[in-house]
């Protein structure tokens, strides 16, 4: 889109009613395209499910992981999806606290992405473990074995962090949705829809006292979600940093992971937002300036991530630790060098293009770049997990890795699973925050100066 077109969008006058019109139009009965998309997503998810079934029936052996690379695609996917989740919370909570107005039109989608990405991420530790039917042993509950989980394990921290993250972001998401569902309820003509929205909006009517509590609570949620988002990816990074594997054991991991998560998450938001904006004609609400703001966020986080990569190499060299040194020699020049250079290109070099404004404001370019970044971030996790594990302390047990079709199927299935929720969500609930957009709009007044008396 050119700048002229952007200006056009700017000029389009949008009032309260128009917001409802534009957003709730998205909930109109779906066409064939939507059903095909849903079928595609459900189908892919089902393939993933079947692959998992195969794995449960036969044992973990059907996956490609093997001694010494005990963590593989599943944990890569876990970190990847948790990372995706992060930008949602960042956009909805952190930017809320910073009063960044550009968040308003995109935050609902970003937050839905968060919840669904955590739902996807949360599956992977269970898919990954050898005896998934005992996954509940990680929960501290009184049991007939008189045993408790080990609170010193980073994996248990993960259980707490991810479940807290899921709960809090789901609450934040749902609370934000309530007034919008009420709006949808009031517009709904279909009886079933009306009934469902009546229930799910919990009878929200926008009473002035409720708004007072609502705003107070919303601020508090945002205040909780902000440290949470930082802690969750830090905890995820500690899964690695707490290990003694050369290439894992680094203090830089938490900030590096958080930045990486935001980086990939923003890219994912762009990937999702561009087609949705196009399909549902949201241009008046989601404007070019919003994309540009996100592009700038990518520039920032890409810089942080690049810095972290360089620091890792520097630390390895400076530490004079032979294992670390070998590891960081191995990454760019060893067996998995393609992954390393792919990562470097996608995460460090490609985003540099955004310094050039015409590219930064080109929607097509942004869409392509966001996908490149997503690939790059997946490769980053691959690098951290696989490459480090393949070259550890004892040369006798250095090993390699082979993908298996089961892992591939489950990875694809995760995208299907995530896509399925997204597809369902955009047709059933307002995917753009009606209330919040209205909040940044000037309220309708009879007398422009009347409000100033108060």
């Amino acid at each position: 889109m050119t700048t002229a077109a952007a200006a056009d969008a700017e000029e389009t006058k949008v009032d309260y009613k128009a917001v409802n019109d534009i957003v709730l139009r998205m909930l109109e009965p779906p066409g064939m395209g939507w059903f095909l998309l849903l079928l595609l997503c459900v189908g892919t998810a089902a393939i993933g499910g079947l692959c998992w079934l195969t794995q449960v029936m036969n044992g973990m052996g059907v996956a490609g992981i093997a001694h010494p690379i005990m963590w593989g695609v599943y944990i890569t996917n876990f970190v990847f999806w948790v990372g995706i989740a992060h930008s949602g919370t960042l956009i909805s909570a952190v930017l809320y606290l910073f009063r960044a107005k550009f968040r308003m039109p995109i935050y609902r989608l970003a937050e839905a992405m968060t919840v669904f990405a955590v739902m996807t991420a949360g599956l992977f530790p269970i898919i990954h473990i050898g005896r998934p039917w005992f996954a509940y042993w990680l929960m501290p509950y009184p049991n007939e074995r008189a045993l408790w989980p080990n609170f010193r394990s980073p994996l248990l921290w993960d259980v707490f962090a991810v479940s807290t993250y899921f709960t809090v972001s789901a609450v934040f998401f749902v609370v934000g949705l309530i007034p919008d569902i009420a709006a949808a309820r009031d517009r709904a003509t279909c009886k079933i829809r009306k009934f469902v929205y009546t229930l799910t909006s919990l009878g929200w009517t926008g009473k002035h006292r409720n708004w007072k509590h609502y705003e107070a609570a919303y601020l508090l949620f945002a205040a909780f979600a902000t440290p949470l988002v930082v802690s969750v990816h830090s905890v995820v990074s500690w899964d690695f940093a707490m290990g003694n594997v050369p290439g894992w054991h680094a203090t830089i991991f938490p900030p590096y992971f958080v930045a990486g998560a935001i980086f990939s998450g923003v890219a994912m938001v762009i990937t999702l937002m561009i087609p949705i904006r196009k399909i549902f004609h949201l241009e008046p609400l989601v404007r070019l300036e919003h994309f540009e703001a996100m592009a700038k966020l990518i520039m920032l986080t890409s810089g942080i991530v690049t810095y972290a990569y360089v620091t890792e190499f520097y630390t390895a060299w400076w530490s004079n630790n032979p294992y670390e040194r070998y590891q960081f020699w191995f990454r760019p020049f060893g067996e998995f060098k393609l992954a390393f250079w792919g990562m470097t290109f996608c995460n460090c070099i490609a985003p540099l293009s955004l310094w050039y404004k015409p590219l930064r404001t080109n929607i097509t370019f942004l869409f392509i770049l966001s996908i490149v970044i997503n690939i790059g971030m997946w490769l980053e996790r691959f690098n951290i997990i696989f490459t480090s594990l393949s070259r550890e302390f004892l040369p006798a047990v250095w090993g390699g890795y082979n993908f298996s079709w089961v892992e591939f199927g489950i990875t694809i299935g995760a995208f299907g699973w995530f896509g399925m929720w997204m597809t369902l969500f955009i047709k059933f609930f307002p995917a753009v925050a009606i209330t919040e957009i209205k909040m940044i709009m000037p309220p309708p007044v009879r007398d422009e100066n009347a409000l100033d008396h108060h």
Partner: protein, 1010 residues
């Protein structure tokens, strides 16, 4: 068998013979369920269970308590003593017998894997008869009675046209077979590829007595070895290794010079491996002899001998030898110098390198060297000889008779000529020709070949009737491998299948013609009654017999001095580089060298999954055969790792994967013996893709009358299909990480043991590191393991012991290729210097039971934690399988159950009921054999004391042929491990870098600096 008279030795030290055979087969199988001892079935819940108590009581068997039986291993002709653990009527573990002097308690992998022959799913379960139905010949079960009747009929008709082909036999069985053959006017031949016939014959020439002397490795300060794989399969590998290790640990540090065109395990353990041109061993030996003789050694010998030796070596030019052998003049002189300066030395020849065309010549010069060095009587004991009977000439004679129709009935037991005889000998051809002749003589319905094999090997497949013999663990018998060693074989459990003792079968077939004995057991007893008379024991025979059973035999070294008489043949030695190949020899082709390995021996071990899965000590390959090719040669023939190579000569061709290594002479392609079975059970057949290397060998034998294993030539051609050699370790270098450390010892001359120079990496080795956390207190016991790298040969016996003790499944080639072998204990092998100054390090790596274990805090469910006794505990049933522990394990010793592994029936009977069989999805690792620790503590508690040093031995420690491993309580300052810990050689792997505080202490390897 109605009377299996099991005699046990147990912790209660009961002796005597059990009266009635009260364990019927049914009860043995069902008694497994007794008191839930079926323990070893699965980790998973099995809900409804039944208990099957014995029908009749058994005074010696308490459910849940193991009984130990002593016996003798008959897997190879070394005949080490064994002790077999029996639980609820089934043999579950074979260990060495400390009281038997052959191996003094050590046991090799093959001996331990004898259980897998016993429980082999492909064993012949009942007598079989071949039924020819048109083109197809199948085996049909037949009753014992009918089978005997048929064979007896054939025996009656055979009338002297009878031959008996056996493996090496000693003791009563040898007597019985000889008597049996004699009674029928038949011929008897013995065939065993591995027998050191050349050495035995050379002894006859030089020392005057036929046989392989007993070599005392402990005493020898310098060992010059021409290719004898004395740490692997040669003569008595476990005994040799034990002696060698004692010499290594002693303060004179025996130095080993190994001359062989390839790096064998023995070569890898030598201080200096001299890579010679194939077939040049004799020249080198002569050069050394010349040097030593020139220096005036051997002056005490008679003038005649001296003169003849001088004559023998007069034409030898050391510089020429150096040129043609590839071993430099300085090295020859260096070796000679060390030999001269040592008080006791030892010169050996044998193995594959010693089985070229001039084997007898080499063995003779070797013997002369020993004579010149005055080793006879000190390190070479000619009063205790092993006398191999396996002469290829005898076998050829039998084959000729078969061919000509002079043999109409052939009995085969304990040998597999269809596989271990090169096809050029025409075993199958002779059989079919005999068969044709028999049909012509209208005796075609009578069996021609009667096999007593207990497994369907290549020879048994050609048999007309198979009378499956008991496995030696089910049978009575004895062995007399060398003078003074009379060891007993006794059944350690009721037979698994419907088989019969070989001796019983022979006695039944012979009727009363051979012996009065009613069965083989009484036959053996009769033989021992004679021995009893000779021994002159004060006990009555039955008491003495019981005592011998408890001890495992009667051992008394005969120490008669034997006079050395050198025959004139001894000086008739001419170097001949190659085996005479009757046809198609081409000079440009490579020398083929084939050698027995600890994994397969001559092929008899190919049906043992433990050994197939045991990584070859040097190449680390599993479930395969391979061709060792030098990089230059590989380049010349366009071969690389991952290719298959077809070795082709006139006699046949073999397709094997390529293993490119610098550690082989460029003129040589070395292939291990024993793979490529077309029969012999599922495990052997799994490696059927590669050919039997012996098919390249011609009929012509070595000068000693044994089969040649070296010197044949073949042309390598790259195979069209790639062939991946699965190896458990692909990285050869330590990358300067100082994992397996070596201390170099410089000894200047005799008496001066020199100063010990280490390679000097002691960072954090001894000084206490400041700890962030308060260290764990271990109030009573702190278990520790010491590994003396100076004694470790890397043979893998401990690995097999671990598989056997801990119910570790073997997973097969495919799964190992994926990196999913289950071995709890691996031996890391590093090549660190360039080939010229090669240092091979072996580093046994098991769970280090770290005090600061990185695996423990990362487990979210406490499936692994640190217990009060210093153990890094692993609780299988708590494990959910996050595998974080394995990632975090510095030593990568944790194994994950990727699948549920099945033990094919009846192999599940071997499972140790004291160890949980793990299910899919859980992690497992070395536990220091916690079941043994618990048992030891239990016994100690019953006796009201604490556990003492030596009470508990994990399986690996117990089995180690060289006693390189020791286990005990570090809190006990007097224990062996505590003492070892304070040795100046002690260090802990990687501890200086990551402060894991392992409980396993290694002691630096000791090497003589050449």
């Amino acid at each position: 068998m109605s009377d299996n008279g099991l005699v046990q030795i147990s912790s209660m030290k009961k002796t005597g013979e059990k009266k009635a055979g009260d364990m019927s087969r049914r009860t043995f199988l069902k008694v497994l369920g007794a008191a839930g001892a079926a323990g070893a079935t699965a980790c998973a819940d099995s809900s409804k269970q039944n208990i099957f108590p014995n029908v009749k009581g058994d005074n010696y068997q308490v459910p849940g308590v193991a009984t130990w039986f002593r016996s003798t291993c008959l897997e190879c002709s070394a005949n080490c003593g064994i002790t077999v653990r029996n639980r609820e009527g089934r043999a579950v573990k074979v260990e060495g017998n400390r009281e038997n002097p052959v191996a003094e308690g050590g046991l090799c992998g093959l001996g331990q894997a004898s259980l897998q022959a016993l429980y082999n799913p492909d064993r012949i379960r009942e007598p079989l008869e071949k039924v020819v139905d048109g083109e197809k010949a199948t085996f049909k079960p037949i009753t014992w009675k009918a089978a005997y009747k048929k064979v007896q009929a054939a025996l009656k008709k055979a009338d002297g046209k009878f031959a008996f082909l056996t493996g090496e036999t000693t003791g009563s069985l040898d007597t019985l077979v000889t008597d049996f053959t004699k009674s029928l006017n038949g011929t008897r031949a013995v065939y065993d590829v591995l027998q050191p016939v050349a050495e035995a014959k050379a002894s006859e020439r030089v020392y005057g007595t036929y046989g392989v002397p007993y070599y005392d490795f402990e005493k020898a300060e310098v060992v010059l070895n021409f290719g004898a794989d004395f740490l692997e399969t040669w003569v008595s590998p476990v005994g040799n290794a034990r002696g060698w290790a004692k010499g290594r640990k002693a303060d004179h540090l025996s130095k080993v010079f190994h001359v062989e065109p390839r790096l064998s395990l023995t070569g890898a353990n030598a201080d200096k491996w001299l890579c010679n041109k194939p077939g040049s061993e004799l020249e080198i030996a002569l050069a050394v002899l010349k040097t030593l003789h020139g220096w005036g050694l051997g002056k005490n010998l008679s003038e005649d001998v001296n003169g003849r030796i001088a004559k023998l070596v007069q034409d030898v030019k050391i510089s020429d030898v150096a040129k043609s052998s590839g071993v430099s003049e300085e090295k020859i002189l260096l070796v000679s110098k060390h030999l001269k300066e040592s008080k006791h030395s030892l010169v050996l020849s044998g193995g594959a390198a010693g089985r070229g065309g001039d084997a007898l010549g080499l063995a003779t010069v070797t013997a002369l060297l020993n004579l010149v060095l005055a080793n006879v009587g000190s390190t070479v004991d000619i009063s205790r000889m092993r006398k191999p009977k396996s002469l290829i000439g005898d076998v050829e004679k039998v084959l000729q008779s078969l061919d000509s129709g002079d043999v109409e009935l052939l009995f085969v037991h304990g040998t597999n000529p269809a596989f271990t005889l090169p096809s050029d000998f025409g075993f199958s051809y002779a059989l079919s020709s005999a068969r044709t002749k028999k049909v012509a003589a209208e005796r075609g319905d009578l069996p021609l070949l009667v096999s007593f094999a207990s497994e369907l090997d290549e020879t048994a497949e050609q048999a007309d009737i198979i009378l499956p013999a008991h496995h030696f663990l089910e049978d009575w018998g004895d062995a007399n491998p060398l003078a003074g060693i009379n060891s007993l074989v006794q059944p350690v459990m009721t037979p698994v299948f419907n088989t019969r003792s070989f001796g019983d079968s022979l006695l039944t077939l012979a009727g009363k013609g051979v012996s009065e004995a009613k069965d083989y057991k009484s036959f053996v007893q009769k033989q021992w009654e004679e021995l009893h008379g000779i021994v002159g024991s004060s006990l009555t025979f039955s008491k003495w017999w019981a005592e011998c059973l408890e001890r495992g035999g009667y051992f008394k070294a005969a120490s008669k001095p034997v006079k050395v008489t050198v025959s004139k043949d001894a000086y008739n030695v001419k170097p001949a580089k190659k085996v005479k190949m009757t046809k198609g020899a081409k000079s440009e082709a490579l020398h083929v060298l084939t050698y027995p390995s600890v994994k397969t021996f001559d092929g008899r071990a190919a049906n043992r999954p433990w050994l197939q899965e045991l990584p070859d000590p040097v190449t680390k390959a599993v479930w395969d055969s391979w061709a060792e090719i030098h990089p230059e040669t590989a380049k010349k023939y366009g071969l690389s790792q991952g290719d298959g190579v077809i070795l082709r000569n006139y006699y046949g061709e073999v397709n094997v994967p390529v293993y490119v290594t610098e550690h082989v002479h460029p003129d040589v392609v070395a292939v291990p013996l024993g793979q490529g079975h077309s029969s012999y059970g599922r495990f052997a057949k799994e490696v059927a893709g590669v050919g039997n290397i012996l098919s390249l060998f011609p009929k012509s034998a070595t000068s000693a009358g044994a089969l040649a294993l070296s010197g044949v030539t073949a042309k390598p051609v790259k195979s069209r299909t790639p062939s991946i050699l699965v190896r458990t370790q692909t990285e050869n270098s330590q990358h300067d990480r100082h994992l397996a450390r070596t201390k170099y010892v410089e000894a200047k001359s005799h008496g001066d043991h020199g100063h010990h120079g280490s390679n000097g990496h002691h960072e954090g080795g001894h000084h206490e590191v400041k700890q962030m956390y308060e260290q764990r207190e271990h109030p009573l016991y702190e278990w520790g393991l010491n590994v003396d790298l100076a004694a470790c040969t890397g043979c893998g016996s401990c690995v097999v012991a671990c598989y056997a003790e801990n119910n570790i499944p073997t997973v097969g080639k495919e799964v190992v290729y994926q990196g999913r072998e289950m071995s709890w204990l691996r031996i890391e092998r590093y090549f660190d210097q360039p080939a010229e100054e090669l240092k091979v390090s072996f580093l046994p790596m098991m769970c280090q039971q770290c005090n600061n274990a990185p695996c423990e805090p990362v487990c979210p469910v406490y499936a692994t934690y640190h217990n009060e006794e210093g153990l890094n505990s692993m609780v299988y049933n708590r494990c959910v399988g996050t595998r974080y522990c394995s990632n975090n394990c510095t030593y990568k010793v944790r194994r994950f159950n990727w699948y549920d592994y099945e033990f094919p029936e009846p192999m599940q009977l071997q499972l140790n009921p004291d160890v949980t069989k793990r299910m899919a999805g859980v992690m497992e690792k070395c536990t220091f054999c916690i079941q043994r620790i618990q048992e030891g503590k239990n016994t100690a508690k019953n006796e009201g004391r604490v556990v003492q040093d030596g009470d508990i031995q994990p399986a690996c420690v117990q089995s180690c042929p060289t006693e390189a491993l020791s286990f005990g309580n570090r809190n006990d300052k007097k224990s062996a491990v505590s003492k070892g810990e304070h040795s100046e050689r002690a260090y802990k792997v990687l501890d200086h870098h990551i402060n894991t505080q392992p409980s396993v202490v290694y002691m630096e390897d000791l090497r003589f600096k050449v």
